[in-house]
């Protein structure tokens, strides 16, 4: 099944652009991973019961890029990111983080990763301040640095007033922000954020975008998954489109979208738009 994603991508997009490091043409054998990439995955497979969630995904995220991962619900984005960050063991395939084999040397690889998983709880009986401290201490940081960075993060995410409240009493947006804070407290080289803007208010989202942009400008790599095309088009410089466990297209945003808007291109790739009359009876009289 090797190269199936590229085949699919090539079928739907004849002029399929290639991101650096990934040859456009389907290769018979596994292509070597890109050691310079912040994240490089090869032939990732995962099956849950009857459903194949991720089937043979190859992806290279260049270091220093702001990478968007888009796809419809159930496309396998979360599963793929979990396997690329050490949260879920792949049935087959491998992932390299800055050239370190994640599943062979997990501790070394995880040290350079900051992860915001989607749909997991937090240790919510801790206060916001305690949770950030905990995340920092788990990474083996010394106390002074943890305290300083906790204060900085609380200020940056506008959580200063709620620092001593329990996370269980936070709103959905505040919870997202504190989780984001715990993902970046150890200043990782790469941030993998699954749906980071869900339930976050526009002002906080803008603040977070600024933080992420300056992080990328400083040499960091950010990978975000999102449903919001518009956001990805404005924020990211690279994008990959996933559907039904495959990567349909990947590259810089301009390469992927061509002449169209990213949203139109996405709909073209994924399909599923209804061109009917709509609901004829649904009329506000």
């Amino acid at each position: 099944m090797s190269g199936s994603t590229a085949t699919l991508g090539a079928m739907t997009t004849p002029a399929h652009p290639s991101p650096p490091g990934v040859p456009g043409a389907p290769a018979p054998d596994q292509r070597p991973h890109d050691p310079s990439a912040a994240l490089s995955v090869r032939e990732l497979w995962k099956r849950f019961g009857q459903k194949i969630a991720v089937s043979g995904v190859d992806l290279d995220v260049p270091a220093g890029s702001f990478y968007g991962l888009v796809g419809p619900n159930g496309a396998g984005k979360t599963t793929m990111l979990s396997m690329a960050t050490g949260l879920l063991r792949p049935d087959f395939g491998a992932a390299w983080v800055h050239g370190v084999d994640l599943w062979a040397q997990p501790d070394q690889a995880k040290a350079t990763l900051g992860v915001l998983p989607d749909g997991v709880r937090l240790f919510d009986r801790l206060t916001g301040r305690q949770l950030l401290t905990y995340a920092g201490m788990l990474r083996g940081m010394d106390k002074e640095t943890v305290v300083d960075r906790t204060n900085d993060l609380l200020k940056a995410f506008d959580l200063g007033a709620d620092a001593d409240k329990f996370v269980v009493d936070y709103s959905a947006g505040m919870t997202k922000k504190i989780a984001l804070g715990s993902a970046m407290i150890h200043a990782p080289r790469t941030l993998v954020l699954d749906e980071p803007f869900e339930a976050v208010d526009p002002v906080s989202a803008a603040n977070i975008r600024d933080i992420l942009k300056s992080y990328v400008a400083g040499g960091g790599t950010v990978i975000v998954s999102s449903h919001v095309m518009d956001l990805v088009q404005r924020m990211c410089d690279h994008v990959a489109v996933m559907a039904a466990g495959h990567v349909l297209a990947a590259g810089t945003v301009d390469e992927v979208r061509g002449e169209q808007s990213l949203e139109d291109r996405f709909v073209d790739l994924v399909g599923g738009r209804q061109h009917s009359e709509g609901l004829s009876w649904l009329r506000g009289s």
């Binding site: 050490g86 240790f123 009986r125």
Partner: protein
């Protein structure tokens, strides 16, 4: 409309059958059990009506009915969140007239195992008066009123208290209180029955039943005038020909039904326009707490987090609250046999149960455990971190229990062996927990849920995993037990010291080895552990 509510409730029930085989089996077992209890009670009451004095049947119906009402009213306050299938909040967006909604919810409330059991029991018990058709009719009317009192009262109370019940702080307090009450039921019953035996025994020895009759009659006479018993006592009033009492109690019963309906109606009207505020309890904790007091290392971070959870998460603090009660329970349990053996065994038992209580830590973390996985926390860090608070607090609690028990039993010569046994079983069971919890994770109440609520379909996994933990602990603790028992049998200071030394040294050895084993397992299955907690229902 009412029919639609009924079908909805039945569909929901049917769907739980489809969800898992174990749930279906659980449901069937619960139904059979309820049916058995109903059958036995019915047979008893009806037999009383036919064979014995019908007055007895009247008493039984009145008092039993009052208990049922009490149960319907009180239990939902403690068992919050256990059955919220027809939460009125879910119907807010549908334009249903409130009267229809109320009737629908009330009738649907009867479609459950306890609901059906109550209906069967209430109507069935009326047939104790089969020989007197007039009384039978009155009794059936009373039964219907009684059932209405049960359902309406229970709904009224939960709806009125809903704003309180929804606050996290209240839930936590109530959960702990309920847990303590349930644990105390045994001792309370034995204490009460002792008391009754004493009062009865002090009279003549003949026919305690006949002696108790006036007592029950008195109680039933009072209860019959209260909202709890009025409806149920109608039958016996008619049987006695006490028409004034009948009318008066009918008024009380009707008034109760009307009043609860009115209260529920009002409360629901208010609840539907003011959806749950969420949050509610503005509790805060200043500063870093335990995190500020431990050295900066991942292991100590895990320890600080574990300690914080012990105090702040009711699923843990509930079990802490139960530990001081264990000696009390053992005291009462041992009292009936007249020996202090049970009481003296409490120290080692507390040691074992403390260590055992961390045997499903990752299950309790639920998916928050993802933080450990993504942070690359290794097995040694995680295992020791979780064990440290237990190793700090556990010995103190165990020693205090041992000292208290030898003091009450006045057996100071057993202090050293019991200390050795207690600390030894604490260390061994802590170690076994550290090893087992890296391999066998089973679903428990989720964070924020009542600790009394055990997830359906998890019984098998729980039994297997706890059973294995128990067997391994007992097996590994055998050397300590052997020396300890020898010390108790032979006596003497030397044996006592030997038990203490063996308990401490051998226990520590097992702890270190077990933690090492657990850490290896943890490192090997880290992502699998996370996937396991993610797959919990």
């Amino acid at each position: 409309m009412v029919a639609r509510f009924l079908t909805l409730k039945l569909t929901l029930m049917g769907n739980t059958f489809r969800k898992s085989v174990w749930q279906t089996i659980g449901m069937i077992v619960a139904s059979l059990y309820a049916l058995g209890v109903v059958g036995m009670l019915l047979a008893g009451v009806v037999a009383l009506g036919f064979l014995g004095d019908p007055g007895w049947a009247g008493l039984a119906i009145t008092l039993g009915g009052a208990l049922a009402v009490l149960g319907w009213w009180i239990i939902p306050i403690f068992a919050f969140g256990v059955d919220a299938t027809l939460d009125p909040q879910r119907f807010t967006t549908f334009a249903i007239p409130r009267r229809t909604l109320l009737t629908g919810l009330a009738v649907a409330g009867l479609v459950s195992v306890p609901g059906i059991a109550t209906v069967l029991l209430a109507i069935g018990a009326s047939f104790a008066w089969l020989t007197e058709p007039g009384v039978l009719l009155v009794s059936i009317v009373g039964a219907v009123l009684g059932i209405a009192t049960c359902v309406l009262g229970s709904r009224a109370i939960t709806t009125v208290l809903a704003p309180v019940l929804e606050s996290r702080r209240y839930r936590e307090v109530v959960a702990i209180v309920a847990l303590v009450l349930i644990v105390m039921i045994g001792p309370l019953v034995s204490w009460l029955s002792n008391g009754v035996e004493v009062t009865v025994g002090s009279g003549s020895e003949t026919s305690t039943g006949a002696q108790l009759l006036p007592l029950f009659e008195q109680v039933a006479g009072v209860v019959g005038w209260t909202p709890f018993g009025a409806a149920w006592s109608l039958g016996s009033m008619a049987h006695d020909g006490d028409w004034v009492g009948l009318v008066g109690r009918l008024a009380v019963a009707l008034g109760t039904v009307g009043l609860t309906w009115l209260i529920w109606d009002r409360a629901l009207g208010r609840a539907l326009v003011s959806p749950p505020a969420g949050g509610g309890g503005e509790s805060k904790a200043k500063g870093l707490g335990a995190f500020g007091r431990v050295p900066a290392s991942p292991t100590w971070a895990v320890a600080a987090r574990t300690a914080t959870y012990w105090l702040r998460d009711p699923r843990y603090s509930g079990s802490i609250a139960v530990v001081p009660l264990l000696p009390v329970i053992m005291y009462f349990a041992g009292q009936s046999t007249g020996s202090f053996f049970m009481l003296l065994a409490t120290g080692p038992f507390v040691g074992w149960i403390l260590g055992f209580s961390i045997s499903n830590d990752i299950g309790y973390d639920n998916t928050a455990f993802a933080l450990h996985v993504s942070s690359g926390v290794d097995g040694r860090t995680d295992r020791w971190g979780r064990a440290i608070p237990m190793l700090v607090a556990g010995p103190l609690v165990t020693a205090a229990t041992v000292l208290a028990s030898v003091w009450v039993a006045d057996s100071w010569h057993l202090t050293l062996p019991l200390l050795g046994l207690g600390l030894g079983s604490l260390l061994v069971s802590t170690g076994v927990s550290c090893a087992v919890s890296a391999r066998l994770v089973y679903p428990v109440a989720k964070p924020g849920e009542s600790p009394l609520k055990s997830p359906q379909g998890a019984a098998m996994a729980t039994i297997v995993s706890q059973g294995i933990g128990f067997i391994v602990t007992v097996g590994l603790a055998l050397p300590v037990f052997a020396v300890g028992i020898a010390a108790i049998v032979v006596g003497g200071l030397l044996w006592g010291i030997a038990t203490l030394v063996v308990g401490l040294l051998y226990g520590t050895l097992i702890l270190v080895l077990a933690v090492r084993f657990g850490a290896r397992v943890y490192d090997r299955r880290l992502p699998e552990l996370l996937q396991q907690v993610q797959s919990f229902p």
